[in-house]
């Protein structure tokens, strides 16, 4: 039966995870602006608060008090629904991430994971594939041609890259033999990271992750120079804020997933030989996990400010003709190696 402690513990965990996700997403915007500036010999936002650290708050507050404009010929219900779906889909993925092993509190073992689904990887995959609805619905409801074009791009891009991503994941599950994220992470202790086992799979996965989060060089749905604002062309105020926010949450979630699946999650070498208490090791593990996540997010940002973007047809070609065969090849090789 569900006891009170369990409920409280999960409630706290859920709210903590959500809060941390939101704060990190918020500050990712700041990091992106600041890093972009540094990559470009500039200084970046520095006027809102010391070093500009209040910049995301300023943006958020501004969004809240900005007129939320609904175009006259838009479908009002869907127009409002779109950004919310984006946001919810982005947040939902956090539920199965093992943030750390477990804490011992008052004799209870508290796992730092909201839900340990035994099909966690598939759950993640399913949730990620839902994110496109927000874009599609919002873009279509705007009744704007740029938004519609962007919707077309977004949905076809998502579908195409999901396939390669899924196959890369299959190869990964072949080698780990489980679909539970927690087990996948704990299998990687002591530096036995999956990235060494599945290097090609990881490369495919990270490319697909870029595509799924609409980040450069795959940011076709919202590329400014072609489609103005893409699907959010007609959005203003907090609804726009949701969209922009969802993008950063997605980026955070993908980094988290990659860190968990390929970089050992909260594992770090020699964690058991330090002779520290269980809780301390767990906390250190959480720290290490976040360090990995931030490193990956830095990579996302770094790539964005370096390379040009693909063209729509080239993106499709890359997805279908390069990544998918590669992923299948990778899967077959993995399967053969396991059989041997």
């Amino acid at each position: 039966m569900l006891d009170l402690f369990f409920i409280i513990q999960k409630l706290i965990l859920v709210s903590a995870v959500l809060a941390i996700t939101l704060v990190i997403a918020m500050y990712t915007t700041y990091a992106e602006r600041k890093l972009a500036a540094f990559f470009q010999d500039r200084v970046g936002p520095n006027r809102a608060g010391p070093f500009g650290i209040l910049q995301p708050l300023a943006d958020g507050l501004k969004f809240m008090f900005k007129e939320a404009f609904i175009p006259a010929n838009a479908n009002k219900f869907l127009f409002v629904l779109g950004p919310s779906i984006s946001m919810i889909a982005a947040c939902m993925a956090c539920g199965v991430i093992p943030w750390g092993s477990s804490l011992m509190i008052m004799g209870h073992e508290v796992p730092l994971q909201i839900a340990d689904l035994n099909v966690g990887v598939l759950y993640l995959f399913g949730v990620v594939s839902l994110g496109v609805y927000g874009i599609m619905i919002g873009g279509w409801a705007s009744n704007n041609k740029y938004a519609l074009l962007s919707t077309i791009r977004a949905s076809s891009q998502m579908i195409s890259y999901e396939i390669a991503m899924g196959i890369a994941l299959i190869a990964l599950t072949l080698s780990t033999g489980t679909l539970s994220l927690k087990e996948i992470v704990s299998l990687q202790h002591g530096g036995h990271w999956n990235v060494w086992v599945q290097p090609l799979g990881f490369i495919i996965f990270i490319i697909c992750a870029f595509a799924e989060t609409n980040r450069m060089p795959f940011d076709l749905p919202e590329c400014e120079t072609e489609l103005v604002g893409g699907y959010h062309t007609e959005y203003s105020g907090m609804q726009l804020g949701f969209y922009l926010f969802a993008e950063y949450i997605n980026m955070f979630v993908s980094s988290t997933v990659m860190a968990a699946l390929y970089f050992g999650g909260f594992n770090f070498p020699f964690l058991n030989s330090l002779g520290l208490s269980h809780n301390l090791v767990t906390l250190l593990g959480v720290g290490v996990f976040f360090a990995k996540i931030f490193a990956l997010m830095f990579f996302f940002i770094w790539i964005r400010w370096t390379i040009p973007r693909f063209r729509y047809d080239q993106l499709m070609r890359l997805g279908w003709k390069v990544l998918m065969p590669l992923a299948i090849f990778n899967m077959l090789v993995t399967a053969v190696l396991i059989l041997l």
Binding site: G44, R47, A58, L61, K62, F65, E67, G229
Partner: protein
């Protein structure tokens, strides 16, 4: 057309909410002014220079140009606006969500400048209300930043209810904007 965002109840009434809310919102708006560069000619190049590393508009939180009028807070009209372009400019302004500000950057946008000719609009304030004028042909980036800081002043001190006030509506009506 424009349905202005409903201010929280009580703000328009006297002193129910603390004015600190207004202050906070003002500060937020001030530091997050997203410009819509309506760059038609030379001043647009100086705007690029302002975006560039040497001047770095991002310090003011304004490096994200929003080419969609809905998302922009500040319409920066840079360069000559011919009479042919006037209606488009007005349309862009109408599409912007409140609160919105306008800078006329450079001589052409402010007054027509050197182009006192049959085809050039003699100042964009003939079609849309302008908040800040920046002189120069083109203005130096310093001057553009200066103009932006003026807008920040405006944004930082604006009352939340201003955009619903009859005066503001009268101002817009004076330009034939609903």
């Amino acid at each position: 057309m424009a349905t202005i965002v409903d201010a929280p109840e009580g703000v328009s009434g006297q002193g129910f909410f603390l004015t600190s809310l207004e202050k906070a919102v003002g500060l937020a708006r001030k530091n997050s002014i997203w410009p819509l560069p309506f760059a038609t000619s030379c001043c647009g190049i100086e705007f690029m220079a302002t975006m560039g590393s040497h001047y770095d508009l991002s310090r003011f939180g304004s490096e994200r140009p929003s080419f969609s009028p809905r998302q922009a807070d500040l319409l920066m009209v840079m360069g000559t606006v011919a009479k042919k372009l006037g209606p488009i400019l007005k349309q862009v302004y109408e599409q912007m969500a409140e609160p919105r500000w306008v800078i006329a950057v450079g001589a052409c946008a402010s007054s027509g400048g050197i182009f006192d000719s049959y085809s050039v609009m003699q100042g964009i304030d003939k079609v849309i209300p302008v908040d800040v004028y920046v002189p120069g042909c083109p203005p130096r980036p310093e001057q553009i930043i200066d103009g932006l800081m003026r807008v920040q002043e405006l944004a930082g001190s604006e009352a939340l209810g201003r955009r619903n006030s009859p005066e503001y509506k009268a101002l817009l009506a004076g330009y034939g904007i609903l």
